[in-house]
């Protein structure tokens, strides 16, 4: 009887620490839906109770049903049948069926389409839990952004056609973006969209690396304006996977074997336009990608949590040199750092979701229900703009942090297990393989850094740091806040130096700037958790209390964690900043010499 929601003290703590009432109020639009839908919440307390109950149910399903299937899913993978259909691994099929029965495949869709109208934060928690059980299943469960995109931009007719079935879990979808020559650079998409004499649209061309390309509903980015190159020639279309869509191959890949990655050929496939022409890439796909990045961040977090747990268990049970290996300083250090890495990623992901939920809520309020009072309207516009900027900076940051984190943690999880970790008897090697894609898809880490560094250098970070520093903190973290303040000052100086030096140099220093900013943000978030209004007792591994685990206050524990995190990272920030101030441009000037010639086949 495993429950991946209830057995996770950090999730339990953060769920209560985070202010979910505000987001619930915004997304439920003042709880006006309760009168039309008997399951919609009537107030914030009820909304939060709903999130808790549904997450509990997903936690049980993940622990008892999905996780036991994950090893077989990895071994079996997906199959491309002779008739062109794709079969999921048995465990994927069974798990999807269970998730559909639980009615959680449309958790962020509005009530009127049968969705649960959950905020991003609650949805993210569910993705993390499912990913901990099986990372590849997340690619199907977490693809709810496709339905969200239809909801945000398509006509009412298209919404009615698809969204009820998405919410009921009767259909799954795919975001069909990448082409052989258009990966990170989606502006160069070639797949052609054309109209017949009656104005009906059709698609023709090839798409590659399409996650769940065998899904029933496909969102396809295509060139509708043949005479326009670049992003402005692209529109977004929706089509059913009918007889004119051919799955040409499925990829044989390193990890996430349960999620089929397809190459698709569209042979004059009838389709419908989403929203307006020429807006396919920006804003539609960009919006879709932002949601997907939060999804991948949660996926990475789930993998990291799973990998940490195996290592934690092994460190306590494996005996060498007369005792458990966790008595060895090097192992202890690795285990603690893995745990803090996981919790820092969770802190940043949840905070990002909080900001995104407010951003979405404010934008919606401005569009549909703006305040009549001019002063209030002005205020709302200002806060909406500010949250929009924060969301734009934090979303790539959390995607970057969680995906890099799960690779580190999975790598170290194997290291803690030593030879056993390298064998397929333990799941660490699977976690490491599953983790590997997360820094690549939905935008590589390098592209996340490019997106985030703009925020760090533009004043958005400065404003956000100020907001963080002005938060509520208890006296025991006072000295830590002083360190964070110094960190902030030197980082902002470095950012100013980079800006003076030029845009090229900004990209070169991107990683150093973004890493430093993340250390500061997570430092503040940990201090905030240590000063939370909520507290709970959690177990420690100390069994001196008659064999029963010693308890500790979570706030106290978070205080210890904040101290270790901030004091360890402060010197790192200093060295990163020193490196930035060095102004070293050898990357530009000496690449040809230092990298040497391109290897030639002899």
């Amino acid at each position: 009887m495993a429950n991946f929601y209830k057995d996770n003290d950090d999730i339990q703590f953060l769920f209560r620490h985070m202010d979910m009432a505000g987001a619930a109020n915004l997304i439920e639009e003042g709880f006006k839906f309760a009168k039309d839908f008997d399951y919609a919440p009537a107030d914030a307390a009820e909304a939060i109770e709903n999130y808790d109950l549904v997450l509990d149910s997903i936690g049980k399903l993940s622990g008892d049903f999905i996780a036991p299937r994950s090893e077989d899913i990895d071994r079996q993978g997906s199959t491309l049948n002779e008739d062109g259909t794709v079969s999921y691994a048995d465990g994927i099929k069974e798990s999807l069926d269970m998730l559909a029965k639980a009615h959680v495949m449309g958790s962020t869709l509005p009530h009127r389409f049968g969705g649960l109208n959950f905020p991003n934060l609650a949805h993210s928690i569910s993705i993390e839990i499912v990913s901990r059980a099986d990372a590849s299943l997340m690619n199907l469960f977490g693809l709810q952004g496709i339905a969200e995109t239809i909801n945000a931009f398509a006509s009412e007719e298209i919404k009615q056609k698809y969204l009820h079935d998405f919410a009921a879990g009767k259909i799954t979808g795919a975001m069909v973006l990448t082409e052989p020559d258009a990966g990170s650079d989606l502006q160069s998409c070639k797949l052609r969209a054309f109209q017949d004499d009656s104005g009906n649209w059709y698609l023709h061309g090839v798409k590659r690396f399409i996650t769940n390309g065998c899904g029933e509903v496909l969102l396809v980015l295509s060139r509708s304006e043949p005479d326009r190159s670049g992003g402005l020639g692209l529109s977004l279309f929706v089509c059913d996977r009918g007889p004119t869509v051919h799955v040409r191959r499925i990829e044989d890949k390193l990890g996430i074997h349960g999620s089929p990655t397809c190459e698709l050929f569209f042979d004059n496939t009838p389709c419908e336009l989403i929203g307006e022409r020429k807006r396919g890439l920006a804003p539609y796909v960009m919006t879709l990608m932002n949601g997907a990045r939060l999804g991948i961040s949660a996926q990475g977090l789930g993998i990291g949590e799973a990998a940490f747990r195996v290592a934690r268990d092994y460190a306590a049970s494996r005996k060498q040199f007369g005792g458990p290996i966790e008595k060895l300083p090097a192992v202890r250090d690795m285990v603690i750092d893995m745990k803090i890495d996981v919790e820092a990623s969770r802190a940043l992901l949840y905070e990002t979701n909080r900001v995104v939920d407010y951003d979405v809520g404010y934008t919606k309020k401005l569009e549909f229900d703006p305040p009549a009072d001019k002063e209030e309207l002005k205020k709302l516009k200002e806060v909406s703009r500010r949250y929009g900027r924060y969301a734009g900076m934090l979303t790539p940051m959390t995607k970057y942090l969680s995906s890099e984190m799960c690779n580190r943690v999975a790598y170290n999880s194997i290291q803690v297990l030593g030879g056993s970790g390298f064998m397929r008897d333990y799941p660490c090697e699977r976690y490491a393989r599953d983790a590997r894609i997360t820094t690549i898809y939905e935008g590589t880490s390098q592209l996340q850094v490019v997106a985030a560094v703009r925020g760090v250098c533009s004043g958005t970070a400065e404003k956000y740091f100020e907001e963080l520093a002005a938060g509520h903190y208890e006296p025991q973290v006072k000295d830590l806040l002083d360190i964070l303040k110094q960190n902030t000052e030197i980082l902002l100086k470095a950012a100013a130096f980079v800006k003076e030096t030029g845009a090229d140099y900004m990209d070169l220093c991107g990683r150093a700037l973004v890493d430093s900013a993340i250390y500061i943000i997570c430092g503040y978030l940990f201090c905030g958790q240590a000063s939370s209004k909520f507290d709970m007792e959690v177990d420690t591994a100390d069994g001196k209390n008659n064999g029963k685990p010693q308890k500790v206050s979570m706030k106290k524990r978070k205080g210890m964690l904040a101290r270790r995190y901030i004091t360890k990272n402060s010197p790192l920030i200093k060295s990163l900043v020193d490196m930035i101030h060095s102004g070293d441009k050898s990357t530009f000037e000496q690449y040809e010499t230092l990298a040497g010639p391109v290897p030639q086949e002899k």
């Binding site: 029965k101 639980a102 958790s107």
Partner: protein, 303 residues
């Protein structure tokens, strides 16, 4: 065609979480020390009923006899997809053995329009597996026990596969029928999110009374009665009032209920500790292993 199913369920102590305090000194189960859960195989029975509803249509009604706390598993049934839930609770039901329990349940089932009655094979507290078969007898209908697969339902005929320990048997009979379901039959679904959100507020009248008493410690009985009536009406309107029946409503004969209706007497409880006295080495050859298996079957260690 559609089939109406009645599922009989039980709240039991979670015997998988046995601790040192699990038994009272007199050898009975200390129910307070163990969390109360939905009897596991009753979940398989409910899943089979929901599966029948998904495929053929009809209604799923869940009944349980027990203390007010058993309302929790009725709510859980509503979360998973049951259409109606009924709590049979009455002090006069206390101390019922399997015979009295099946009599009382039969009185309840007779009040319902039903084609198929489903029970879990057995409850993990008593492990008797008697209530299902006795209930079928009391109702005077056919029974198929140990069902591991429902093969078909055609008009008024059911075909099911039952596990008979060393193999299986396919059985066909006419409706109405009572099935007892084993855990191999299916994998129970989890709560449906929207139903969870709706039915979390569903309550039985006795729960309403208990809650009101706790919230208004100084209210008079008459005031509490009025408050309870108002609350019940409010829930009824929203479809959130769980039905509650007592012996009078069932019209059950008191001499067949509770202690009077229970011929089972606990004579003695023995703590059995199995210890190995001698050991035997079996050579790893085909013949020796076969001989060992035969020996174990003939002395009934395995069946």
């Amino acid at each position: 065609m559609a089939y109406n199913c009645v599922v009989s369920i039980k709240q039991v102590p979670d015997t998988k979480r046995i601790t040192g305090e699990a038994m009272n000194d007199d050898g009975t189960v200390n129910r307070g020390s163990l969390p109360a859960i939905f009897n596991p195989e009753d979940l398989n029975a409910l899943e089979l009923a929901l599966d029948i509803k998904d495929k053929y249509g009809g209604k799923v009604t869940v009944i349980t006899m027990g203390l007010p706390a058993a309302s929790a598993i009725l709510r859980e049934s509503l979360y998973r997809g049951a259409d109606e839930a009924i709590l049979i609770t009455d002090r006069r039901c206390a101390a019922s053995d399997t015979l009295a329990t099946s009599y009382i349940l039969s009185c309840a089932v007779k009040k319902l329009d039903c084609d198929i009655v489903l029970c879990g094979r057995q409850a993990i507290d008593g492990d008797t597996a008697q209530v299902g078969p006795q209930l079928a007898e009391k109702l005077g209908i056919s029974q198929i026990t140990y069902v591991e697969e429902l093969i078909s339902l055609e008009k008024k005929t059911i075909t099911a596969r039952r596990n008979i320990g060393n193999g299986w048997q396919e059985v066909k009979c006419n409706l109405p029928v009572l099935l007892t379901v084993v855990d191999e039959a299916n994998e129970p679904r989890v709560s449906v999110a929207k139903r969870l959100m709706k039915y979390k507020k569903a309550r039985t009248p006795v729960e309403i009374q208990m809650q009101l008493k706790q919230d208004n410690p100084h209210a008079s009985d008459e005031e509490l009665k009025q408050l309870a009536k108002a609350k019940a009406e409010e829930l009824q309107e929203k479809g959130l009032l769980i039905k509650q029946w007592d012996i009078d409503y069932l019209g059950a004969d008191l001499q067949w209920c509770g202690r009077d209706g229970s011929p089972t007497k606990v004579h003695r409880i023995q703590s059995v500790i199995l210890t190995a006295r001698e050991s035997k080495t079996v050579e790893p050859s085909e013949q020796c292993i076969a001989d060992m298996v035969h020996e174990l079957i003939s002395d009934k260690t395995i069946s």
